[in-house]
Symmetry: C2
Subunit: 309 residues, 2 copies
């Protein structure tokens, strides 16, 4: 149904995220017919695997001015799909070769820091940058793990800047919808508050539980009796330490606010336990159970009140 | 391989836990050949379903002195499989009919409170009570959910009292092993510290996260973008509010100590985030990931250092 087409898409970082969008465009939607997809890596070798797998048509090295200029020449779309901490140096590296017609987007899981990085790296040309965040992933990473249907039915959040042209935002919206995603927009501040609450804080809490158990003299005994509840609760504590370090620092303000609010809930529950106030505990537990059950029954994601565009 | 046999087992509360042990003894091990299993409910009707399903041979009502006396006459084993808050009234009700030869055990998920309840209800005859905790469950409850293999390969913790006769502890150990379980022993204080850390605290934290999100004005927006990490982290927030209220109050001291230790870890992580100390965050996250991964690789439960008896 999509009529989305493009001339040339340049992907910086052809791993799971960038590679899956490339595969979706080529294999699912036909959007890439007659188009070129270029993969750029830190070296040519790091992008070579993506070309071998047929995920991209051409490759270039970030370190080579000539290759980088050739990669960006005539590009209508650029996707930065690298760890958020690399956004500013990457955009600064791209800036001298960026044509006025090119729209740049990213896939970072935090947005306020990415906006600040884009302003610092691009100056007035930040108008060409439409911040984005696909809510999708797999346990495995790298271009070998890329899937053409990774984004099907998943949320992508765009956080348009006041400087963005509406038609540029619409192009990035169409790009992700061509990949099968449901696209929503919100401010970068709201994005970061939402994901601090439903993603970043849970990861921090999960890591913290394992750390707490590890700190006990009888840690081995405790682990040996951990069962299903522990398994579910701590599954996300097996996530990448580097990525979550970066996310915690990149989304510092919203995460600390969320953590403080959470700590206040714990203090309230502690007081109820100490006071033997079973009614207060049961009220909280019942309310949480009801909300969690409803969320699960809705299919565990967006429904209705925030209509996908 | 088991040579465990018994004359008469009386189960107070023939639901998932008690019903599964009865089915295991009858259907798995042959231990029930020539034996009687009696189910006791609050009324005769509540136990009737267990007899219809062939899980027990006879039933009795807790409210009827004559039936209760007949049920306990000649019993060598009694299992109390009711919510922990009912332990004391149940044992007080049983006490007048308890023969000197009968060994009583329970299946409560907290132990210090159960020991206190047993001392209060049984007095000197607490020597006949061997506290126990099978670490097994299902999402569904009731005797219809009972399974003959619910305990196969699962941990059962016994918390023997100084007053217990070693041969009585050995009988309860053999009872659970006849059901397929791995049996360990520890003090009731240690049991409650271990399960506060690996089960009770995670449940509290999971309920608290949903409560925190619910308290936000944009709760609906947040839920709509919650994804896999949230799903795993909050699965246990769909647990029974009544049960977890009782567990939190029954294991108050150990849980508050564990919660305070956990809150201290959160404060340390908060300080690292505010200070921008990425190295400190990464060190905690990497240590947690390593421990969580090793736990998973060991099969997610007991291994080696605490040899099952």
């Amino acid at each position: 149904m999509t009529t989305f087409t493009f001339d040339k898409l340049v992907i910086f970082g052809v791993g799971l995220i960038g590679g899956s969008l490339a595969r979706a465009l080529r294999e699912r939607s036909g959007a890439a017919r007659g188009s070129r997809i270029v993969g750029v890596g830190r070296t040519r070798a790091s992008a070579e695997r993506a070309r071998e797998l047929g995920v991209v048509d051409d490759i270039a090295s970030l370190d080579d001015d000539t290759e980088l200029a050739a990669a960006l020449a005539g590009a209508d779309l650029v996707l930065v799909a690298a760890p958020v901490a690399q956004t500013q140096p990457l955009l600064a590296r791209i800036a001298p070769f960026l044509e006025a017609r090119t729209i740049v987007t990213d896939a970072g899981s935090t947005k306020s820091d990415v906006v600040a990085a884009a302003r610092a790296a691009l100056g007035e040309r930040v108008s060409q940058f439409v911040p984005g965040h696909p809510i999708a992933g797999r346990e495995s990473s790298g271009v070998e793990a890329a899937l053409p249907d990774l984004y099907v039915g998943r949320n992508v959040v765009l956080c348009p800047l006041p400087e963005n042209r509406p038609e540029d935002v619409a192009r990035i919206d169409a790009l992700w919808r061509a990949g099968g995603a449901l696209v929503s927009t919100m401010s970068h501040e709201q994005h970061d508050r939402v994901f601090a609450a439903v993603s970043h804080l849970p990861h921090l809490l999960s890591f913290a539980l394992v750390e707490r158990i590890l700190s006990a003299p009888d840690a081995a005994l405790k682990f040996s009796f951990a069962a299903g509840g522990f398994r579910d609760f701590t599954r996300i504590a097996a996530s990448s330490p580097e990525m979550w370090r970066d996310v915690c620092l990149a989304n510092r303000d919203a995460l600390v606010e969320e953590l403080d609010g959470y700590t206040a809930v714990l203090a309230m529950l502690r007081a109820a336990i100490v006071a033997g106030d079973g009614a207060a505990l049961e009220a909280v537990f019942a309310r949480s159970r009801e909300a969690r059950t409803q969320w699960q029954e809705r299919g565990g994601r967006a429904s209705g009140h925030l209509a996908p565009k």
